[in-house]
């Protein structure tokens, strides 16, 4: 059912109307399911029982350091590698043992992978030629695709005559033109410089929103993942260690690994303890008692317990102001990051980082004694596995 819908959708159609799709019989059902997939090489487990279901129109990012298994998973979805166990379901159809060619999945590569000997038109027309689409229709659809990527005038050029960003747009058009049910993107912006990368992030996001594309995006860049995704699958050691919406996974990660991956600062070890009023608190050797919101009940014991506070949640306290967690600190360094300025401060022997809007407060310089604090709900308890 999902598959027919995906196939029937044309690339020129208006954005999928959410209310209309909610009325359809099975709209929220997954378009693509990874069911308990593992991949073992002789002694190495590259993927360990990974499950993921992707909803139609969803932008899912596989995020992780190199060697985390994200590329292996992508290769398995593409059909370039066979899983050792588990199943892949595309629109309810088991494609685990299907060759890449019959799966009908689209893919955008980091190095573009355009046919160098073909013109832009021929490149985009290639999948349609294979599908034996009539000539007039091919011309029409290629023209539409080029308009979508906002490059209508390059039809007769060879890929090498285009810039990196333009080549990647053509590669995306080559995918859009045959309307695959899902599009895989393997670090598609990795070969572009920073400014262009930001522009292309926006561009891909726009196409995703306008056309209702279902995208599985692979990257090792956490900022890219936060900017673009509907959902992030953070991978480590061949497993999905955390999965959630970008805002949740950033501000309330569950593991020390996730906290670390989205900015390796202000993560500290701690022990489970009880405060005077009976609430759970975390005890840290350097900072003493740290107040948290809620209980530590899910953390059965102190083994591997860590906690984190995001730099932008810590604020400078003025005289007489107080906060759930408040400390005297000495400014060690001050680093400008464009719109944000980071203050590195020392509390006892612990080093904390806090972020402020540049120019937002009175100048604080190296060596100044200040008072800092953060509310209890900014303390995020973490497990280390």
């Amino acid at each position: 059912m999902n598959r027919t819908t995906a196939r029937a959708a044309t690339i020129t159609q208006a954005p999928i109307n959410p209310t209309a799709s909610e009325a359809a019989p099975d709209p929220a059902g997954p378009v693509f399911e990874i069911d308990d997939v593992s991949k073992r090489y002789s002694s190495v487990t590259a993927l360990d029982r990974v499950s993921l279901s992707v909803r139609p129109g969803e932008f899912v990012t596989l995020l992780g350091p190199s060697g985390s298994g994200k590329t292996t998973l992508l290769k398995i979805i593409a059909g370039a590698t066979r899983p050792t166990s588990g199943r892949l379901l595309l629109g309810g159809r088991d494609i685990t043992h299907e060759p890449p060619g019959t799966r009908g999945i689209g893919m955008v590569f980091q190095n573009f992978a355009l046919m160098p000997h073909m013109s832009v038109f021929e490149n985009i027309a290639f999948p349609l030629h294979i599908r034996k689409v009539p000539k007039d229709e091919i011309r029409k659809r290629v023209t539409e695709a080029l308009e979508l990527i906002q490059l209508p005038a390059v039809m007769d050029r060879k890929p090498r005559e285009l810039s990196g960003g333009q080549q990647q747009r053509v590669a995306i058009a080559r995918c859009l033109v045959y309307r695959p049910p899902i599009i895989l993107m393997d670090e598609p912006l990795g070969a572009l410089d920073k400014k262009l990368r930001e522009q292309m992030q926006y561009e891909i996001k726009r196409l995703h929103d306008d056309l209702g594309l279902t995208i599985i995006f692979v990257t090792h860049d956490q900022e890219e993942a936060l900017t673009m995704s509907d959902r992030i699958c953070l991978m480590d050691g061949g497993r999905i260690c955390e999965m959630g919406a970008p805002a949740d996974i950033y501000s309330a990660p569950k593991t020390a690994f996730a906290a670390d991956f989205f900015g390796a600062i202000n993560v500290f070890p701690g022990r489970r303890s009880a405060g005077q009023d009976g609430d759970d608190i975390i005890r840290n050797d350097d900072l003493g008692a740290i107040r948290i919101a809620g209980s530590l009940a899910p953390f059965k014991d102190s083994a591997g317990l860590h906690w984190m506070v995001r730099p932008e949640r810590i604020r400078l306290l003025e005289e007489r102001q107080t906060e759930d967690n408040a400390f005297d600190a000495i400014v060690v360094d001050r680093i400008l990051f464009g719109g944000l300025t980071r203050l590195i401060v020392r509390v006892g022997s612990a080093t904390l980082t806090l972020a402020q809007l540049t120019g937002s407060s009175a100048f604080v310089g190296k060596g100044d004694r200040i008072r800092i604090g953060w509310p209890a709900d900014a303390t995020v308890p973490l497990t280390s596995d």
Partner: protein, 276 residues
């Protein structure tokens, strides 16, 4: 690059710098000249137009060429050479290019063993190979046949075809083929519309190389060619033994010109392939 520069050793100076810099190229040119001059000498001799091989020529004449193109024996030999070399080029290219693709892209059991076997004709002395092929073909009834010579030359030229065409294939991006596969292209479509259009210069270069090697191969052909199937080099060799006819100078000049022309084209194609 880095690893290479790490192990490179600066040569010790045993001569003044400029002299040492000039020494190696000079020596190379002298050695090259000694090898090439005898070949070059044949060219003026071929235009002497006399009944004997003389140097220096006393007159300019195209007589020897007229005799060469007028002689049934030489014409048959030339025709045979062209047929054999063309057949070899086609067969060796078909097999060699497919093999090269397999070696560059494939990871299969026995890959290195097959690779070694494929390259063994380059390692075995020509006479030993010739004797082996002769004895084997005698059993199959392939000696003295054009087909037999083509087969033998194909074996001989295969390693060169594989090396030349795989160097081109190594430079093309695997992901382009994966992309084509995912778009639904069959293996055949990928080979003909994605791979070959990208590597045609090196494929053409390897075909010409096969043609060239076959065209002036003498030892192997000498063993298996019969009276009616002798190629140009074989006929030249036998004419040299029986009667030293000056026509051989014309034949040699033609052979040399063809060879140099083809080598030039191959060099240009290979350069083009590595530039892209």
């Amino acid at each position: 690059m880095h690893s290479r520069s790490a192990i490179s050793v600066k040569p010790s100076r045993w001569l003044p710098g400029w002299l040492q810099a000039a020494f190696v190229p000079t020596w190379a040119w002298v050695a090259y000249g000694l090898m090439v001059v005898p070949c070059i000498l044949v060219i003026p001799m071929s235009f002497a137009g006399e009944d004997q091989l003389v140097f220096p020529p006393r007159q300019f004449s195209l007589d020897l060429y007229r005799k060469f193109f007028g002689s049934v024996v030489w014409m048959e030999a030339l025709k045979q050479s062209v047929v054999v070399a063309s057949g070899t080029a086609v067969l060796a290219t078909c097999i060699g290019v497919s093999a090269a693709y397999g070696f560059v892209r494939g990871r299969f059991f026995g890959r290195s063993v097959i690779g070694f076997l494929l390259f063994s004709p380059m390692l075995v002395p020509a006479v030993v190979l010739a004797l082996g092929v002769y004895l084997y073909f005698a059993r199959l009834g392939l000696t003295s046949t054009t087909l037999g010579i083509v087969f033998a030359h194909t074996v001989l030229t295969l390693p060169f075809v594989v090396v030349t065409s795989s160097s081109g294939m190594r430079q093309i991006d695997v992901n382009v083929e994966l992309a084509a596969t995912m778009m639904g292209a069959s293996r055949f479509v990928i080979l003909t519309r994605v791979v070959l259009p990208q590597v045609w210069p090196s494929v053409l270069a390897s075909a010409l190389l096969a043609f060239l090697i076959s065209f002036d191969e003498a030892v192997l052909t000498w063993f298996i060619a019969g009276a009616g199937t002798a190629t140009l080099p074989v006929v030249m060799f036998s004419s040299l033994k029986s009667e030293v006819s000056p026509i051989i100078a014309a034949a040699a000049t033609l052979l040399m010109t063809t060879t140099m022309l083809l080598s030039l084209i191959i060099a240009l194609l290979t350069k083009r392939a590595s530039d892209e």
